[in-house]
């Protein structure tokens, strides 16, 4: 049976970026759920808690394998990672900047909202909401930035080696 070639440094970085973005979706879902739980009946509390734990575990399982591969490869050769450049890593940075802006706007909006309406919601709700928007907007921005990238043509089959 043919052995699968070991992934290159660039492939390790790309996989790590993709998995991290996917993990962010799960983490954002968890915080959306816990934030909305403040408006749900008390009877649904157990269900919300279990789902939140499952989403957290899923996030760890999604990110951990690629993260450990990334750390292991980095330990082996640090200089290799210092020079690696990746389109996905650049898009991840861009998504991070957009998420920062979205979170900043949300904080200003919440400040105005609480000053005007004084809704009396617990502080945990605001923390859940802020983390949900921060992680969710980073993940959504990332997937929007890279969404059209599967269509690029490679060499036609008859030209490929």
């Amino acid at each position: 049976m043919a052995e699968t070639p070991a992934p290159t440094t660039a492939q390790i970085v790309d996989t790590f970026m993709q998995r991290t973005a996917l993990g962010l979706v799960l983490i954002a879902s968890k915080f959306v759920l816990t934030a909305t739980s403040h408006f749900l009946p008390a009877a649904s509390e157990d269900m919300v808690d279990i789902t939140a734990v499952l989403l957290s575990i899923a996030a760890v399982f999604v990110i951990l394998p690629s993260f450990s591969r990334y750390v292991a490869a980095r330990q082996k050769d640090k200089s290799c990672f210092a020079n690696v450049e990746s389109y996905l890593a650049e898009m991840f940075k861009e998504a991070g900047m957009r998420a920062f802006s979205a979170t900043f706007v949300l904080l200003i909006g919440l400040q105005i909202f609480t000053d005007l309406a004084e809704p009396g919601l617990p502080i945990v709700f605001y923390l859940d909401l802020i983390v949900a928007v921060m992680t969710g907007s980073a993940a959504v921005s990332y997937f929007l930035l890279v969404q059209d990238d599967e269509e690029e043509e490679d060499l036609p089959e008859d030209e490929a080696p």
Binding site: T9, D14, E152, L155, E159
Partner: protein, 71 residues
């Protein structure tokens, strides 16, 4: 699209290389090569020089600035 145009696809075809082959040769991912090719990602000087060195041509034979008026 960026102002930077490139002839990577032409050089790949001449050398009968896939995007993956070129990516492995210069130490980036296939997606990075494909996005540079279509102008979505402007490569660093290092990547541009690595591509040029791989094809044994000056970098300006592969990369050039598009005319300001789009011609």
């Amino acid at each position: 699209m960026s102002e930077l145009s490139n002839r990577i696809r032409v050089f790949r075809a001449e050398h009968r290389m896939s995007q993956g082959d070129l990516a492995d040769a210069i130490g980036v991912s296939r997606k990075t090569i494909s996005t540079i090719e279509v102008g979505r990602f402007v490569p660093s000087t290092v990547i541009a020089l690595k591509i040029a060195r791989h094809f044994s041509v000056p970098v300006e034979e592969i990369f050039s600035l598009a005319a300001p008026d789009g011609r």
